[in-house]
């Protein structure tokens, strides 16, 4: 067993909080971006409006998890923050341009003159695609430990495509859950395509990661750890099967199982994240800087932790409330 440095619990707690924020971001804004990626695949304006309105009440808070995740990296691991973000300069720039385009298009498409609406739809889709793609790119660069060269770039770009597929899958599953009629049927078809692409991506990244780093290889394939870890890939495979089977039988008339693909896809996201987190632990910059080396002063971490522990339950509580207020496919929304 590795021995942990003294006072290690604080950096560990913060690594956990940061991971949680990033994971929540990937799931929550993942479906927003996924819906955006497929926006113009819906031929009718009314359907596009519905797609966007299905995420309208949520996207803003969803994106805030990214700010929190990066914020925690910044405050808890300042040295790592600088190293990672300067190394990811170009994909970060592209992601931000994408998030800007997507974020403002939400508002402009309904408020600008009608004639401009198709262009803002384009900005919405393009922005979502660019944001998802560059996030995948960053993931790829991170997995390879910031290696340079054509091979590494190619891998990173592949990850970009794969993350877009993953977002499309969770976005389409969201639409299966939250819409009905022709749009829901369309979403089921989108989800089927995205499922295949995501499956290919997960397998490829899972195979590539151990080869990229001997340390990760050893970590995953040494005995007896492998026994404890086997459930991760097994459960991931099972969830893929659940999504696959449920999509074959959807949409159903009673709408009782519409939530299944979304929940299962969120489960896939969580498991993939766990796998990655296990691979990199305890490094925050792969093979270079551990969370213990990069952590801020304990007195600063403590004051953030106190605030976080007080506020986080409140955030979760009101997030749950808002989800309930805007939940379901409530048919009977009255115009006042």
């Amino acid at each position: 067993m590795e021995t942990l440095p003294e006072g290690a619990w604080l950096p560990m707690v913060f690594a956990g909080l940061m991971g949680l924020a990033m994971l929540l971001y990937a799931v929550l804004d993942g479906f927003d971006l996924g819906v955006g990626i497929m926006l113009r695949a819906a031929p009718e304006e009314a359907e596009r409006d519905r797609m966007i309105h299905s995420i309208g009440p949520f996207w803003d808070a969803n994106e805030t998890w990214l700010v929190l995740g990066v914020g925690l990296l910044l405050v808890a691991f300042p040295r790592a923050h600088g190293m990672i973000l300067t190394a990811l300069y170009i994909p970060v720039l592209l992601m931000l341009v994408g998030l800007i385009a997507r974020g403002v298009a939400f508002e402009f498409r309904t408020k600008a003159p009608e004639a401009q609406k198709p262009r803002w739809d384009l900005a919405f889709q393009g922005g979502s695609l660019l944001a998802g793609f560059s996030q995948g790119w960053m993931l790829g660069v991170y997995i390879l430990g910031f290696a340079e060269g054509w091979g590494a770039l190619l891998f990173a770009l592949f990850c970009g495509v794969f993350i877009c597929a993953g977002y499309a899958l969770i976005g389409a599953s969201w639409l299966v859950w939250r819409t009905e009629g022709a749009l829901q049927e369309r979403a089921v078809r989108w989800a089927r395509i995205a499922l295949i692409l995501t499956g290919i991506g997960v397998v490829a990244v899972s195979l590539a990661t151990p080869f990229a780093s001997p340390r990760i290889m050893e970590r995953w394939f040494s005995f007896p750890e492998i026994l404890g870890l086997a459930p991760i890939p097994v459960a991931t495979g099972a969830l893929f099967l659940v999504v696959f089977l449920s999509l074959r039988h959807l949409p159903r008339r009673d709408a009782a199982l519409d939530w299944v693909p979304f929940a299962a896809t969120a489960g896939i996201f969580i498991l993939c994240f766990q796998g990655l987190a296990y691979s990199f632990w305890p490094y925050v910059v792969p093979d270079r800087l551990t969370i213990f080396e990069a952590a801020s002063a304990p007195e600063s971490l403590l004051i953030i932790l106190v605030g976080t522990l007080v506020v986080l339950p409140v955030i979760i509580a009101y997030t749950v409330l808002v989800w309930r207020w805007f939940g379901g496919k409530a048919q009977a929304l009255k115009y006042y």
């Binding site: 309105h53 009440p57 929190l68 990066v70 910044l74 300067t86 408020k111 002063a297």
Partner: protein, 455 residues
């Protein structure tokens, strides 16, 4: 141009673009709450019409603020890694508190405020409006605490080249914080009230005299007329605070190269940084000392006492004059319009044109004020602790130039789209009552399809 300068321009461009939108939303949130409370109290649909129009402007401005704010949080890392390495122990918690106490609050309840009317109980909708206003204000508070700490640091010690917090109360209540927070919140109040008054005046001039438009104009005018004298007072107090803690900034603002007694007030000049002298100076004798020291013969320290530690004079001097000039103009126009309302119950046409012309005056004054204070603290990023040049990252100048060009293009485009869209919203016929035209009912579509902000 070197990477540091390009990074500075990029951050300045980003933060300048960003501040335009919080400057509107911080105070517009409270104005919306006022409109909603008036509606609750009177059940007069005109208040709700005004609410529905301005909540759209709020939503649009909020989105612009969010996307540019997210961009900024990344630029700390991409361009200024030295900043967090040196003072991360203090800046970090302040930024974290902003995110956890404010960001989530505003982002989550914004949905209820925009889409909840008629869908959640009415009280809850009012509460959401309050929480969003509170969230934006708290967000501003934490950011201004951090900015003030960077200007006038307190409550820390340097160990191993890194700042460590020793007293959080002293950090939060650092010497310039109360003045800066007050000055900025009032600036937001003025920016939002001139926007409300100006855009409403524009709608009225175009022939829309529906009650909602007139109410909004009246609210905007009276808020502006009330806040501007308070702002002039707060600005003066902030200036005296700066004189105490950052005398070199005040010397640059006042155009004082050499320490002097009984200094004149430079109304205008063109400071020449190369020759350390003022060209074309127009000054009122003794007034400078009188204003700053409240004594005719008071001594004001000049930039000569701060060799190598002071900002360039020209931009600080000019920006300060733009801000003050805009403040005077705001005073004249808002009092003129308020007088017109008071005497005749409505605004005169010339006063309405003046209001319309001043729609974005808050932006000009706010930016000029920020340029004064931010350029005025150079060469320090954190006074006495960290120089701006030391914080810059290793990214090559060519890469920074590329990203700068990309950001500038995006921002210029968005600014045009934003102003164009506001004008478009203003030109649309006003909504009156629940079955307003321009918001077609589509009863056949399910819930998600009928979410229209403000409905």
């Amino acid at each position: 141009m070197d990477g540091v300068m390009l990074s500075r321009i990029q951050f300045a461009a980003n933060i300048s673009f960003h501040i335009l939108f919080p400057a509107i939303t911080i105070a517009l949130g409270w104005i919306l709450l006022f409109l909603k409370l008036r509606f609750n109290a009177t059940k007069d649909e005109a208040w709700m019409d005004a609410y529905k129009f301005w909540v759209k402007v709020f939503a649009l401005s909020f989105a612009m603020g969010v996307v540019s704010g997210v961009t900024m949080s990344f630029q700390f890392g991409t361009n200024w890694p030295g900043y967090m390495e040196r003072v991360g122990n203090i800046a970090g918690p302040l930024l974290a508190y902003e995110v956890i106490t404010a960001f989530f609050l505003e982002a989550t309840f914004l949905a209820v405020m925009l889409f909840g009317y008629g869908r959640v109980p009415d009280r809850l909708h009012t509460l959401a409006t309050l929480l969003v206003a509170l969230g934006t204000t708290m967000s501003a508070f934490w950011i201004l605490v951090l900015n003030s700490w960077m200007q006038t640091p307190a409550g820390f010690e340097i160990r191993g080249g890194v700042a460590h917090a020793t007293d959080w109360a002293a950090i939060i209540l650092n010497p310039s914080m109360p003045f800066r927070v007050t000055h900025m919140l009032l600036a937001s109040g003025l920016t939002a009230s001139f926007l409300v008054a100006g855009l409403s005046a524009y709608r009225w001039l175009r022939g829309d005299d529906s009650p909602g438009v007139m109410r909004a104009m009246r609210v905007g005018v009276f808020v502006a007329a009330t806040l501007i004298p308070l702002q002039i007072l707060a600005g003066d107090m902030h200036g005296l605070n700066t004189l105490h803690h950052q005398p070199q900034k005040v010397a640059a603002m006042e155009g004082i190269w050499e320490t002097e007694r009984g200094a004149g007030l430079r109304l205008f000049a063109w400071p020449d940084d190369a020759n350390r002298t003022n060209r074309y100076a127009v000054e009122v004798p003794y007034l400078g000392s009188l204003i700053l020291t409240h004594s005719w013969e008071g001594e004001i320290r000049g930039l000569n006492e701060f060799a190598g530690e002071h900002p360039p004079m020209l931009p600080v001097f000019l920006a300060f004059r733009v801000m003050v000039g805009m403040g005077v103009l705001m005073l004249l126009v808002s009092w003129w319009a308020a007088f017109s309302f008071w005497r005749r119950g409505r605004v005169s046409r010339p006063a309405a044109w003046a209001l319309a012309g001043m729609t974005f005056s808050g932006w000009v004054a706010t930016l000029a004020g920020w340029y004064t204070t931010e350029i005025g603290r150079q060469p320090w990023l954190v006074t006495g602790i960290l120089r701006t040049g030391e914080a810059a990252g290793p990214v090559p100048a060519g890469t920074v130039a590329t990203s700068l060009a990309a950001y500038l293009a995006v921002y210029a485009f968005l600014l045009l789209a934003y102003v164009g869209t506001l004008m478009h919203l203003a030109r649309r016929p006003a909504l009156t009552g629940p079955d307003a035209p321009g918001e077609p009912k589509r009863p056949g579509l399910p819930a998600a399809a009928t979410l229209v902000p403000g409905e």
